[in-house]
Every structure is written in C-alpha cells, then in structure tokens.
C-alpha cells in the first residue's frame, strides 16, 4: 500500500510533462480537424479554436473542387496494386530466405540491405529516363512497380523474420506427404504467416498513400496524380481558403486514422521493426 502510494505521487509530475508533449503532438492535428468543419467566414475571428457552427459542406466542396472521385481512385489503385505486387514478391523471397536457404542467399540478403540504405536521389534520375524510354511515365503501373521495389526489402525481411520461427516439422511432414515446394509455400507457409502479411500490407499501403517524391516526379498529368501531390497543388490553388484546404487534408488523414485505430499495434510494431533487432 505504501509503495503504491509513493508510486502514484511520483507519477503525477510524469503525467504533467507527458501531457504537455501529447498536446504538442495532437493539438496541431486537432486544429486541422476544426478548420475542416469551420465555415470559411469564421476564419478571420476564430482561426484556431473549435468552430461555433459545424459546416460539413466543406468536404463535398473540396471533393468536387479537387475532383477527388478520380484522385481517390488513383491513390487506391496505387495502394492496392503496390501492396499486392510487393507482398507477392516479398513473401516468396521471405520464405526462401527463411526456410530454403539457397546457396549464396547471404548475397541476396546483403544486396537487399544495401538497397535499403541507397538514397533515392542516387537512382531517381536514371530511373526517370528509363521510365521515359519505356513509356511508363504518367502511368500507375509504372509507379506501382517503383513502390513495390522500394518496399520489397523491408517486407522481405519482415516476412522472413516471421517465417523463420514456423516449426520445421510442419514442412518436413508435408514433404513426406509428397508436396512440392510451391505447394508447401501456398498451403502451409503463406496461410500460417497471415499476421505478418497483414502487418507488411498495412505498412506498404501507408507508405504508398503518403509517398511524395516519386509521385511528384513520375506523375505530372493531373488526371493520374494521387492524393499527396494533388493536396500539394490544392494548397497552392486555394491558398487562402483554409476551410477547403483543411477538408482536403482531412480526407487524406481519415483513412489513415481509421486504420490506425483498428490496427495500432500492427502499425507501431511494423514501422519500428526496422529499428529493432531480434
């Protein structure tokens, strides 16, 4: 009893400092949210506080002004395309590196590790010229291929680290029953690894949804642009209409916020797995 009392008293200054930093993290996002449901006329008097009158009409307005039906679809295509392609190649490689250990697989692992550290600026210009030659500029498939390659090393290592812990006996038993390697992968390794596949998919999807540099460079046609670069041009186009701008930004945040609420642990563990060693 005494101990817990002491602890509780000690915790109060902790909470005080932590709340200050939590407010620093959350309040700016809250201001954005308030602004997205605030009438434009109220901005002069009340730029930071909660709105006196909720105006949800900002969202349809922004949706129409930015032609978001098209843009949302563009982003969704990029996200799903990249998640599927990247997971397909990464789960195959992750399985091989975890359980098959081909001779010389260390070379592949080192190549992918170096690949993670290469700054995008080294290859972005030759890649751009290559994509121009192949007529892949301003196409979604071109960007999907790039996003899959960018995220593949991370996804491969994440999936490998999970599959390596699957018991070998399962695979040996299947082998004895006459299953070939591809059947073992599709029938045993893949279904058993669904948690890590889901985590990797969420992280890839988030990275693609938020990505800016490659979207800016490889898609210049406004009809094909995703949410991120459209929001960037939206900010310039409606420079002083903060209601419209904020509504557009919230539309980009909302799917992330909803998924984060549902899968907090997966997002946090997946995003920080690169920084944590086994």
């Amino acid at each position: 009893m005494l101990v817990s009392n002491f602890r509780r008293k000690e915790a109060i200054p902790n909470h005080f400092i932590l709340i200050l930093f939590a407010l620093l993290a959350v309040l700016p996002i809250l201001v954005l949210f308030f602004n997205s449901i605030k009438p434009f006329s109220e901005f002069g008097l009340n730029p930071l506080g909660p709105p006196s009158e909720i105006r949800l009409q900002n969202f349809p307005d922004a949706w129409i002004a930015g032609e978001y039906t098209k843009i949302f679809f563009n982003s969704a295509k990029l996200v799903f395309g990249s998640v599927i392609l990247c997971l397909a190649v990464s789960s195959l490689a992750g399985f091989s590196l975890a359980k098959l250990n081909p001779k010389g697989s260390a070379v592949i692992a080192i190549y992918l590790l170096v690949g993670i550290s290469i700054p995008a600026q080294l290859y972005i210009l030759p890649l751009f010229l290559l994509w121009k030659e192949l007529s892949l500029l301003n196409t979604h498939i071109g960007l999907i291929i790039i996003y899959s390659a960018l995220n593949a090393p991370f996804a491969t290592f994440l999936i490998r680290s999970y599959m390596i812990r699957l018991p070998d006996e399962l695979f040996d038993a299947a082998k004895l029953d006459g299953a070939n390697t591809f059947q073992i992968f599709f029938r045993i390794a893949l279904p058993l690894s669904w948690p890590v596949i889901l985590t990797a998919g969420l992280i890839i999807g988030l990275a693609v949804w938020n990505e800016f540099l490659f979207a800016l460079t490889f898609i210049t046609d406004p009809n094909f642009k995703p949410m991120a670069t459209i929001l960037f041009s939206f900010q310039a186009r409606f420079e002083n209409n903060y209601a419209l701008q904020s509504a557009a930004a919230i539309m980009m945040v909302a799917p992330v916020a909803i998924l984060f609420m549902l899968f907090q642990r997966r997002f946090i563990s997946g995003l920080t797995s690169g920084g944590l060693k086994e």
Binding site: A11, N14, I17, F21, A22, A25, V26, P28, I29, V31, L32, P47, L48, V89, A93, F95, S96, K99, L100, N101, P102, K103, S105, Y111, L112, V114, G115, S117, I118, P119, Q121, L122, Y123, L125, P126, L127, F128, L129, L130, I145, A149, F171, K175, F185, N210, F212, A228, L231, F232, Q235, Y242, Q245, A249, V256, F260, Q264, F267, T272, G275, L276
Partner: protein
Amino acid sequence: MNFLSNKSYIAWYFVIPVVFIHLFVIGIPSILSLALCLTDWSGLGKINYVGFENFIELFDDRYFKKAIFHNILWTIIFLTVPVCIALMCAYLLTGIKRGQMFYRLAFFFPYMLASVVNCQIWKYLFHPIHGLGGFFESIGIEALASSPFTTKETSLYAAAFVDGWHFWGFLVVIYLTGMYQVDNHLYEAADIEGASKFQKFRYITLPMIRPIFIFSLMIIIIWSVPVFDYVYILTGGGPAYSSEVVANYLYTHAFVRFNVGYASAVGTLMFIYVIFIVGIFGLLRKLGWEI
C-alpha cells in the same frame, strides 16, 4: 533446413522476382548514376566522358557547399533535440501505469501522417495572421510573428522543426521497447541504494538500451541525408538558398535544369557518404562494441 537440399535451384525461383524488380528499379539505375557522374550528359544527345570534372565543379559550387552545411546542421539538430525529448518521454512513460497506451498513440500518430499534411498544418499554425503569429508577438517572441518559413534566418530550423515534430514519436516507441527489456531487479537494487530518478536513468537505463540507442543514432544520420519533402514543400530551399539541402539541390539540377551528369555526381556523393556511415557502424560492431 534440408527438405529441399536435393533441388536447391527451386529455392532460387522464389527470390528471382524480388531481385529482378529491385535490380530493375534501384540496382541498375544506381549503377547508371555512378557511371553518368563522370559525364556531362544533359539527358539528350551525345554522352561525353569528362572524368572528375563534375566533382571539381561541385566542390567549387558555393550553393552546394551551403546545402551540405545545412544537411550537417540538420543531422546535428536531429541527433540532439528529438533524441533527448524522446528519451525523456520514454523514460517517464516507464514510470506510469495509467494512460500508457494513450500517450504512445498520441506521440506516434504524427509519424503516420503524410509530409504534405504535416506541412500544411504547420504552415497554417505559423501563418502571421491566421496562425500563432499574433500570439507569439504578444508574448514577446518577435521572431515568430512573421512566418519562420519565409525568413532567411529561421527557414531551415522551421522545416527541421516540422520534420522533427513528425518524427520524434517514432523514437519514443523504439526507446520504450528497449526500456521494457531492462531487468526490473536493477531498478529495485538502485532504489535500495537510494538512487535518484536521474541517476537510475544515467547508470541503468541508458547503458542497458545502448544497442537500440546507437542504432537510432545511425538511422538518424542516414535518414538526414535524403531529406527532401519537408524542405521542398515548406520552403523550396529558399528564401535565397537559406534552407537549401543536398536532395533539393539535386532535384533542381536533375528535373529543372536536366544536368544529368552533375546531378548524378551529387547522388554519388550522397551514396558514398551513406555507405561510409554504415561501414563505420559495422566496423564498430566488429570491434566488439555492443551495437
């Protein structure tokens, strides 16, 4: 694992797709870039070999030197401010029971948001009329009365602030994971000895999380090299090159002026630097540092 040792070529089929797509997008263009940095190509026409001329020109270019200096400043800022705040918050979080998850989510959420969104939020908050400009003026911080993104003296720090605001929650989570692995008996022993909170942090927590801590420093140094989004969106490198960073400098040469050779030379230097840093940390690990 030996259930496939007789047919090991099948194992290779599984890695071919990832190697192929990665070589196609990253490997081959990187090698091209390493080759093109010795030419004066403009993207069209003949490719002339010019030796190390691009590099000689680069080291004479005062805007490039300025950009490098800004990247170094950026690295130093990120190695200190977010690291200290994150260490403190993670340590304080281990001392509380209630609300743990709430704080963790609150700190981490900005890390999930797109750079465009974060930049929009802070552009608005630092707006001299709509944002906090008036508030800063009334409490006597004149420097923030006008937008810090458009002032020469502050533009770089303001962009770094927004990026740091987005990033530090990530550090809290990885430090926290490390701190939970520390054996509780150590703290209990320290309590008996009458150690203060800070002493426990300094002599137990920090040494025990050293591997994660050193690793976080390495990724901060590496991630400070390609910094682009926040500078490009918030300041565009301006005003008057006051927030120019290497990645933005390269972007201008690559996609505005189409100096392929020159931009490749910048990219090559960035690559060499990153490999050098990774090499140093690898060497330290080999020498028996526990990192």
